[in-house]
Symmetry: C2
Subunit: 199 residues, 2 copies
């Protein structure tokens, strides 16, 4: 199987980003995550923090912010809501990145955006709540909300965003070539499985 | 990871049974499929063909058949519907098999039935419709119904059965340690991935 683009979708806190970065490092190919966010931001004219906050979130939620964030730039978004405008830029950036050559793309519904390419390996990483709660507290620190609430809120937003823009169910095995439970298999073993499919 | 039981859930025509049999052969451990059906049949008093037909199907559908198939044995099923009675026998047989030692169990919601064991590797095999349609015609021959209809009907029954007895969504990645698209990865590669996790 000749795959040169690896897309990694992931539950919040599952280690999907870490797995993607390690796969990219081991293969010596680009890793698109914050870089991708910055590129999208640059093309859309939004601040990177805004893109990072809204790029994978509920379209309903971002539509609410439209009136407040874009009163000053009428016409820039061709009549699209903030969320739909971001989505169109995101599709275009991800398709351009895939054209450039091999790479690992984390999140941003890249599996769906690149669904017509035959050279993508689409991976979904998930994990049990205990593993994820522990991981987010360790990586991102404590917050006013419980880890369980943070997990539920973030997953919900990704689910709604994915379903809205792809018409598919987030986390349904059928959307991916490979789904891995990082809490059961371990982050290192997930990396090895992905690499074994690219040899 | 020390896993001695491998459960394989699968879409109809995805090659899940073939993958399971090959994994069992390569590991030199028992493969439970028809044997399992026969064992369930023996314990329940049903004919093997009846168990094979109804064990993974819609509980609604099997409830309808209740009145016709068991008028003669009042009390045998402790007031349970045919489907619920089969389910209870199925749970007990699968738990006994897991206790006996290593093995590969295909279908029958074994992932859920054995969810409290730490020594199970739960796998879901799926594939695109083209791959599956081709495969069922090759393996099981033509029928009056189109391959697409046969796939849709069988998957639907497994979905309904799984959801009814487990409260979970069939094919949701989160229910399994590993989900593989056999049409994209190939049957042989699926076998290798599973084996690599058991070394």
């Amino acid at each position: 199987m000749e795959k040169k683009i690896i897309t990694i979708s992931r539950e919040f806190g599952s280690g999907g980003r870490t797995i993607g970065r390690e796969v990219a490092n081991r293969l010596g190919i680009p890793f698109y995550d914050k870089e991708l966010v910055e590129k999208i931001a640059l093309e859309s004219g939004f601040a990177p923090t805004f893109v990072e906050e809204h790029g994978e979130h509920s379209p309903g939620r971002t539509r609410l912010s439209y009136a407040f964030s874009h009163q000053g730039v009428p016409g820039v978004m061709n009549g699209l809501s903030t969320a739909d405008f971001l989505w169109s830029i995101q599709c275009s950036v991800i398709m351009q990145l895939a054209e450039q050559g091999p790479g690992v793309i984390v999140g941003r519904n890249a599996d769906y955006i690149l669904k017509d390419r035959k050279d993508c390996l689409n991976v979904f990483i998930h994990a049990n709540d205990e593993f994820r709660a522990d991981r987010i507290v360790r990586l991102y620190g404590e917050s006013e909300k419980s880890p369980q609430t943070r997990l539920a809120e973030k997953d919900k937003r990704r689910q709604v965003n994915y379903q809205h823009y792809t018409g598919q169910i987030w986390g349904a095995a059928q959307n991916y070539d490979l789904c891995l439970d990082s809490s059961r298999l371990g982050v290192d073993q997930c990396v090895e499985i992905i690499l074994s499919l690219l040899k």
